[in-house]
Symmetry: C2
Subunit: 213 residues, 2 copies
């Protein structure tokens, strides 16, 4: 937007702060700011206070790193879940996505980041201590590494797997392949190559040992 | 999103408030909430306070209704502008858009709404008092009605024009026609019909009285 627009400073300040949010450009930020101004002042106060206080009201679970309202998050304090199975994720939204799938009833370990040597995020920045401690205590039967399937996610998966090598637990990685509903014609070559090389025997369930096709 | 997602209440509260903003669905709201949580707490505080305080920090100009930091907005207090020309707009973003066009150096009158009888917004809810007073005082040479070119905007334009009839000022309406860069083939029939019936003489500037083509 040009420099000479005659809106006064508080609106410019709000617009500039809003446009720091992901996927919100300056035009959307301006529209949001004017919407907040045109709406009920009680809404602005409720939203503003909710944002301002979010870091004070939400704490990281001391055990798994998930967000929660107390020292143990709702997942870690759920006795119906299988806490001997631990899924390692990069961020809480990934945990939420896995929960949404409805297929997983174990616990989690949230890294809150991935290895990114170019950005100065090395292994010392990955909080693995509580996970290693749980594994050493014999609490964990299997660690499922569910970091993203990109360069940083794969590097992190490799590092977590190496760290847990020779420790008393199995380590697995989430499956990679053609996504549900995916057309082979439009699937990228890396995914398709992986889907072929990591093919599964169709008769696995009827045999005690899966035969390679 | 499904009911059983294990995020705790402050995040749900924030997500629900964010999703009340225009063009922000529940999925985007969730992503924004997690972004705010992952970002520097100082950013959350700055953004939250900016939103919470916006209604206290921004006041409506007592003369034109534009947003400002004091009783007279930056446009009304600009002595270089021609305040005998007053542009009537529905909302402040419309004023901002006109300012951005760089073609207008007069003043404004912001209605902060349009006639909408079905929603119970009748003429008594349109703040025209200060405009009428300025016109009666002889301060205004021309009122340019720049409400939107839709049903509510046209009804409001008609009402404003009727209110100002027989008062000592000219009343005009912004031009309607094919927009800049518009292909005639893809222009809707109402716009095209208007563009034909409101056609302008090409030689207007060389003659004292425009001849109808």
């Amino acid at each position: 937007m040009s420099q000479d627009i005659r809106v006064d400073d508080p609106i410019k300040e709000l617009t500039s702060l809003l446009s720091r949010l992901p996927s919100i450009g300056e035009r959307t930020a301006t529209r949001l700011a004017f919407h907040v101004l045109a709406d009920d002042p009680r809404f602005a106060r409720a939203l503003g206070e909710s944002i301002a206080q979010i870091h004070d009201r939400v704490v990281r679970c001391t055990r798994c790193g998930n967000y929660g309202a107390s020292a143990l998050c709702s997942i870690c304090s759920d006795s119906k879940r299988d806490h001997s199975l631990v899924c390692v994720v990069a961020r809480v939204p990934d945990l939420v996505a896995i929960e949404r799938s409805g297929t997983y009833r174990g616990g989690y370990h949230v890294l809150h980041g991935l290895l990114a040597p170019l950005e100065g995020i090395g292994p010392e920045r990955l909080p693995l201590d509580t996970l290693i401690q749980r594994v050493r205590n014999g609490e964990v039967r299997e660690v499922v590494i569910a970091t993203p399937l990109n360069v940083e996610g794969e590097a992190t998966a490799l590092y977590v797997a190496e760290t847990l090598r020779d420790m008393p637990c199995q380590v697995s990685r989430i499956a990679s392949g053609v996504p549900h509903g995916g057309e082979l014609e439009f699937t990228d070559q890396v995914t398709l190559g992986r889907a072929i090389s990591e093919r599964k025997s169709v008769h696995d369930s009827t045999q005690s040992q899966g035969q390679e096709p």
